[in-house]
């Protein structure tokens, strides 16, 4: 039961990050490695603010804003300075390593005994006695659902349509008289805002920040997106965002089982990498998004059709302006 709860808690926290990765990887067609820096950035902001006795909820909003700013930086590096997408992310990821350690003041910052969004007077008043073990999972569920529904709503707006269009076919965005660079920057900002928020919530659930939280985050995010979208590609009753959430929970469950089977937790990154590889092989998703329209927001189909595929990851790096 405790294992299930912990899988659900972490799976849903990571699902928020997965939604961010979904925006960049699936919608923008932008492999954004900034995530490895923005996730621990959120954790550092959460831990730093809470350890100074600030409001834990305020730290979530601070993380959200910081993440948006970070995403904008990645976007500006890519769009304005025409640095290819992968490199723009790597630059930001590397720079952020310093930033989040600076914010936390050191490489590891525990916040035991402090009040968090999961552990404060209000929450403890609502969840009393036997229910108190469920408080974290319920709060995570609420935050995750809010994130999901706000994202779903945004994707159905005109601005959201432009975001979908820019990953689909940049030319059409220009044709509509809209600056495609701005749309990409906006997409990266929303994505990283979600990732950073997720990091902040994760730190509050784990009750510490650690600089080593970062590396591998993007792999977990991609794994969630790919598990979700390939496992549930035939499911049309819910949106892809829901599939991503289930993908994240399934992924966390796989990792939990691997550890339960006796693998030491120091092997976590290896488990992460191997699981990701297995998922990629099983889902056949080894190349970039195609232009033939089988890659959808509402109904994600992912058959293998090399003929209709865009160039591989190395080929299409210009992005910004041709």
């Amino acid at each position: 039961m405790d294992l299930l709860l912990s899988v659900l808690e972490q799976g849903m926290i990571y699902a928020i990050m997965g939604l961010g990765v979904y925006i960049t990887y699936k919608i923008l067609d932008f492999p954004d490695l900034t995530v490895d820096g923005s996730f621990p950035l959120g954790a550092a902001i959460g831990a730093a603010m809470i350890s100074r006795g600030m409001n834990p909820l305020a730290s979530v909003f601070a993380a959200l804003a910081a993440g948006a700013a970070v995403g904008m930086c990645t976007g500006i590096i890519h769009v304005k300075f025409k640095v290819r997408d992968l490199l723009a992310g790597i630059i930001m990821m590397t720079a952020l390593y310093t930033v989040h350690i600076r914010i936390a003041g050191r490489a590891n910052l525990p916040i035991y005994g402090r009040s968090t969004i999961f552990d404060n007077d209000l929450v403890n008043g609502i969840f009393q006695g036997g229910f108190s073990r469920y408080k974290t999972v319920v709060i995570v569920l609420i935050v995750m659902l809010i994130s999901k529904y706000v994202l779903d709503w945004y994707m159905s707006t005109k601005s959201g349509f432009m975001l979908r269009a820019v990953g689909d076919n940049e030319t059409i965005v220009t044709s509509m008289g809209v600056d495609k660079g701005t749309v990409k920057i906006l997409g990266l900002a929303i994505s990283n805002a979600l990732v950073t928020m997720s990091g902040c919530i994760f730190a509050q659930q784990q009750r510490y920040y650690d600089a080593s939280m970062g590396p591998g985050t993007v792999v977990i995010g991609l794994a969630s997106v790919i598990i979700g979208t390939s496992l549930f590609k035939k499911v049309t009753v819910w949106r892809v965002t829901t599939s991503v959430i289930f993908g994240s929970i399934i992924y966390k469950a796989c990792v939990a089982i691997a550890i339960k089977l006796g693998l030491p937790s120091t092997d976590l990154k290896m488990i992460t990498a191997v699981l990701f590889l297995i998922i990629l092989i099983l889902s056949m998703e080894r190349r970039r998004k195609r232009t033939d329209g089988t890659d959808l927001y509402y109904d994600d189909g992912s058959g293998d059709d090399p003929a209709g595929m865009k160039d591989t990851a190395v080929g299409k790096g210009d992005g910004a302006d041709a």
Binding site: Y154, T157, F161, A165, D168, N169, T174, S175, D179, T291
Partner: protein, 257 residues
């Protein structure tokens, strides 16, 4: 009126591949004119369109619309008054979005893409009507992603999208070249109908000499960055495919082909 004044454009300057395309190129197109442009590969047809649309930078010269110099306007700003259809049907539509979503995007051109609802539900009946007019069966597939349509169907949707909102210029870049002859015919017919109905200034680059002769009221032949033939009105009416072909052959001989 659209004016190109003293346009200079060199590709790959300073390299072994340096290629001077436009050297003091000038062109005037009146409002409401339907111009067809022909020419061999590399003659500067598509570059001409790219210069007008701002898709490539020019080395010198001016692009003037209605007396206003727009040479410094960015590509996306210029497109607020330009509709463009490309040779590749996938360039004019969003493949993962359905027909209604695509048309809704196009219907909002010129306005802000903000946080109001993306789908234009009030216009769905109108979309159904214009799709039904195409006679391609698209009115029954409005929920299908455009990527699952055939090239001809996609190009038809692209053409509708380009002209859904009022535009000053319609730029057609060999937009029938990738289609089978029958579909090309349908799209060309549709193009002509739209141009007549909307009275939009149109520039159509084509390799199909018959289209160049049959459609439009002005014909330009490009060669090595110059317009070597420019016929309007009655002069154009009298042009035949054979006339065009013979000029093509002359050029080819000059070039040593």
């Amino acid at each position: 009126m659209l004016e190109l004044k003293h346009i200079y454009k060199t590709y790959n300057p300073g390299t072994v591949n340096e290629h001077v395309l436009f050297k003091n190129f000038n062109l005037q197109i009146d409002n409401g004119e339907f111009v067809t442009v022909v020419g061999s590969n590399g003659s500067g047809k598509t570059s001409l369109l790219n210069v007008i649309c701002g898709s490539i930078p020019i080395d010198a010269g001016q692009v003037i619309i209605g007396g206003k110099d727009i040479s410094d306007e960015k590509e996306f700003v210029r497109h607020r008054r330009i509709g463009r259809v490309f040779q590749d049907p996938s360039k004019g539509t969003c493949p993962s979005m359905n027909i209604i979503e695509n048309l809704s995007i196009a219907d909002n051109k010129g306005r802000k893409y903000g946080l109001s609802r993306g789908l234009n539900k009030a216009r769905i009946d109108y979309y159904r009507d214009i799709l039904a007019d195409l006679d391609l069966g698209l009115e029954n597939q409005m929920d299908s992603p455009v990527g699952s349509l055939s090239g001809g169907q996609r190009q038809a949707v692209a053409l509708l999208m380009a002209t859904l909102q009022p535009i000053e210029f319609l730029i057609l870049d060999e937009h029938t070249a990738a289609l089978d002859p029958k579909t090309a015919e349908i799209i060309m017919k549709l193009t002509d109908d739209i141009v007549r109905e909307k009275k939009v200034t149109t520039i159509m680059v084509t390799h199909n000499l018959r289209y160049a002769v049959d459609y439009g009221e002005r014909l330009i032949m490009m060669h090595q960055g110059n317009s070597i033939l420019d016929k309007k009105g009655e002069d154009k009416e009298q042009m035949s495919i054979d006339d065009l072909l013979s000029i093509f052959n002359e050029i080819s001989i000059e070039c040593g082909n």
